[in-house]
């Protein structure tokens, strides 16, 4: 059990401007784009919840949050 097992990646689509920074720097390449060019989680199984997407998202649109 890891410290972040009860967390997951949350995406606030309405704030995403599709700049691609999170997609580019994701160390596991689990992020991609939806039909509108906004960020989408493509492979949550392989996400290591490192939080690099959150720390470099200029629009606070992607972050680690508690599982609902």
């Amino acid at each position: 059990m890891g410290a972040r097992d009860n967390q997951e990646i949350k995406i606030k689509k309405e704030w995403c401007k599709g700049c691609g920074i999170c997609v580019t720097f994701c160390p596991k390449q689990v992020l991609g784009y939806d039909d509108e060019g906004k960020v989408a989680m493509l492979d949550s199984e392989n996400c290591i919840k490192c939080g690099q997407c959150e720390m470099r998202c200029p629009d606070f649109a992607i972050f680690l949050g508690g599982k609902e």
Partner: protein, 272 residues
């Protein structure tokens, strides 16, 4: 559903912000909020002051005591705030042009006085808001709307400029190195005296497009590949440092009297 840090420290009604897609300013603003959270500061005891420019819009989004002042004069206003309320943590957010051109004199004199203000410079190498004119940090040879044939100026090194002028903490990071940047901002706020954190940001709209730097992600990848920590650089041979830029903590000097402490001691002496 929001990032809890954003909900706690931002004015939610004003978000999303107006900065361009891929602008690095939001990355620095989030790191600042996280640094303030780590320090456990009372929101009412923090005052964020800015001048004019893209970066200077940040206080409009931050839920502290905030002042959006005139171009280049954030440090002058902040000096007044700090002298009147020495208990406040005063943080100045400024751009490269605002801090080192229009407000260049305020910067060197605030540093010389060692007043307890934390200055965070969002350095995107250009005047973005007004349409891409070259700034004091635009690299030599690069293009701007006012340098269509290449900039002939040599750029300022803002962190070293502040250190030379008397700042007792001076550091530089980039928006790629966001975790390290957050720690630097935390150290800078906790430091007693004038502290400078210069953060290399990205302007994909003006600087990037004009100079064919590619996407925002390309520009940030360049920061990842081009900056080396000053401690690492000390051990590297010259050929491995060619074309690289230095980041890290350049100066941390303790024991220099802070300006409002010196001012208070005069008041106490004259009361006797």
């Amino acid at each position: 559903m929001n990032n809890p840090i954003v909900e706690k420290y931002f004015r939610m009604d004003n978000l999303p912000h107006i900065w361009c897609p891929g602008c690095g300013n939001g990355i620095i603003m989030l790191a600042l909020a996280k640094a303030i959270d780590s320090l456990g500061l009372d929101k009412d005891k923090v005052c964020v002051v800015s001048g004019i420019g893209c970066s200077s819009r940040a206080p409009g989004y931050l839920d502290f005591n905030t002042l959006h002042t005139t171009h280049g004069r954030a440090l002058a206003f902040a000096t007044g705030v700090k002298l009147a309320n020495p208990e406040l943590e005063v943080i100045v957010i400024s751009g490269d042009g605002d801090a080192s051109a229009i407000g260049g004199n305020h910067l060197i004199h605030a540093a010389r006085r060692n007043i307890g203000i934390t200055t965070i410079v969002f350095n995107n190498n250009i005047y973005g808001m007004t349409g891409g004119q070259y700034s004091p940090t635009t690299p030599n040879g690069d293009l701007g709307t006012t340098a269509p044939h290449g900039n002939i100026d040599r750029p300022f090194d803002i962190a070293q400029l502040a250190a030379a002028a008397g700042a007792t903490y001076a550091a530089r990071s980039t928006v790629y190195h966001a975790n390290q940047m957050e720690k630097m901002i935390e150290t800078a706020i906790a430091h007693k005296g004038f502290s400078m954190v210069e953060v290399i940001s990205t302007c994909p709209t003006y600087y990037g497009r004009k100079n064919k730097k590619g996407s925002a992600a390309n520009m940030i990848a360049f920061l990842k590949d081009s900056f080396i920590d000053v401690k690492v650089a000390e051990k590297l041979p010259e050929e491995k440092k060619a074309g690289k830029f230095l980041m890290g903590e350049f100066k941390k000097e303790e024991g220099v009297v802070e300006y409002t402490v010196a001012y208070e001691s005069i008041i106490e002496r004259l009361k006797k």
